[in-house]
Symmetry: C2
Subunit: 329 residues, 2 copies
Amino acid sequence: MNEFDIIREVFAPLTASAPGAFNLSDDAALIESQNFVVTKDLMVAGVHFLPKDPLDLVARKLIRVNLSDLAAKGAKPVGYFLGCVWPQNVKREDIELFARGLAEDQQKYRISLYGGDTTAHRAKAGPLTLSATFFGTPPKQGVVSRSGASLGDDLYVSGTIGDAGLGLAAIRKEFKFTTVDKASLTGRYRLPEPRLVLGGALAGLATAAIDVSDGLIADAGHLARASGLRAEIDAVAAPRSPGAAAWVAAQDNRWKALAKLASFGDDYEILFAAPPALRRSVTVAAKASRTEVSRIGSLTRGEGVLFLDEAGAPIPVPEAGYDHFKKER
Amino acid sequence: MNEFDIIREVFAPLTASAPGAFNLSDDAALIESQNFVVTKDLMVAGVHFLPKDPLDLVARKLIRVNLSDLAAKGAKPVGYFLGCVWPQNVKREDIELFARGLAEDQQKYRISLYGGDTTAHRAKAGPLTLSATFFGTPPKQGVVSRSGASLGDDLYVSGTIGDAGLGLAAIRKEFKFTTVDKASLTGRYRLPEPRLVLGGALAGLATAAIDVSDGLIADAGHLARASGLRAEIDAVAAPRSPGAAAWVAAQDNRWKALAKLASFGDDYEILFAAPPALRRSVTVAAKASRTEVSRIGSLTRGEGVLFLDEAGAPIPVPEAGYDHFKKER
């Protein structure tokens, strides 16, 4: 059973009377009559964060993964609803530390908690489970959907790719990074940086956008599919941090390593499409929002994703992002 | 550590810049600039429903406990966001059965799913955990808050009290009910009836309202506290179903039994306050919405809740509703 099939086949039909739900094929919904952009992301200990991660960072990650969805839509965040299922033996200090993390990022992003529900598992029955529903106002140019890309559009991504996955590998001591790289990579895993300013600047420029949470290749597939096109990605052009470059250099098979970086997920960058005629405007928007943006490919006729080597030949891609019903990580 | 202290002391400060969050002292928040009423309730297997309950009924209970919050505010439901954390070994048929329950109640209440997040626990790591964020439009008279009751207002409750708790006792074979009573009581536990029509009719009449989820006495305490008053409840006047009446008759201590009924929780009735001058209007609203409503007490000077016997003497109340951080049930 596949997570995306379940959403498309089992849950999407339940949105038939709500055009603003985009048939569950987008990161966020638009409550049209009132013009709110809303998104909801869950985080479960042992799945989306490490059970021993400091709870203030967990809280801030919860906020940021949700803000990343709003960023990809060009929305300006306003507030959120929070649901917590705590282990029964949780201590008050734990919850306070968690709330301090919320407070810190609330101030940083000028958002507020609006409500929610607090409950606890039965003794030893389950891990900390967090749910947040965020809402924001859409950009005046309208939200950037997943499905608006046109044939021939360029494909761009912000920041660097694969760092969070390598950060997790560093925490698990699966690879020896330099101290500086390790700090930077684990930071990317524990505390993503939602690209809100860039997202706002792309409204009216980008024809389609998605936040990279399942992995660059998987999310390019989501965007391409929603737009009825194929995504072609230049493996070398997909941007890498110094730590990721060092890791790639140490791998036996460079192409396999690049494909792995593009499959890790948890990047929380914005992947977007824009017409070639707007290349200059995209550069200006990136500069104005002080965010690195790389042109990594284009949208062509066909379906799926081609991850291409220097000669333009497709690199085999072993796994298409994380599927919660399929495997453990 | 107490759940309500945590909400008031740890989380409420995070809503300081959002007046519509009512300092987390209400069932639902008002997103004022856009006029939406939003509520969020979690349900965890083993805590809020039995792990073996049929999943279509679990889905419908999730919808209904949230709609009950909107009903108490007089709001008209529009849609919801859904978060599911499934056990890793969940079968597709299970999820489909769950979705069928959602579809059934979506049609019944004319609401739509708008978005959400689907994920899974690691193998054997936790129970099915559900989160829903519901939104609706406020009544034109404005939402009915928890805090608007005045000194001398009457206190009313819809339907009957304690049935869901007895339904759980029946499922656990802790008491032998007649076949008819058992079916009715277990139905109240598994499938609450949100009082949406009554809630709408009370807008403009009720000065304060809350849905009874923690238990009549506990929720009367929440309403009284928010209004700066004391709730006095006539134990005999608190309405009982035939099954509950049979159970009370079989108990050694009648007053203790009545206090227990008023502490069980999961009733999903509306407890509300209204001025004595509006008694007739309340009766008309109840009739028009075909919902039984009982006058059970009043709001007086002081604090807390007095649960009174026929002579007007307070009955000791052993437990003040369910606290997720305190005990198991």
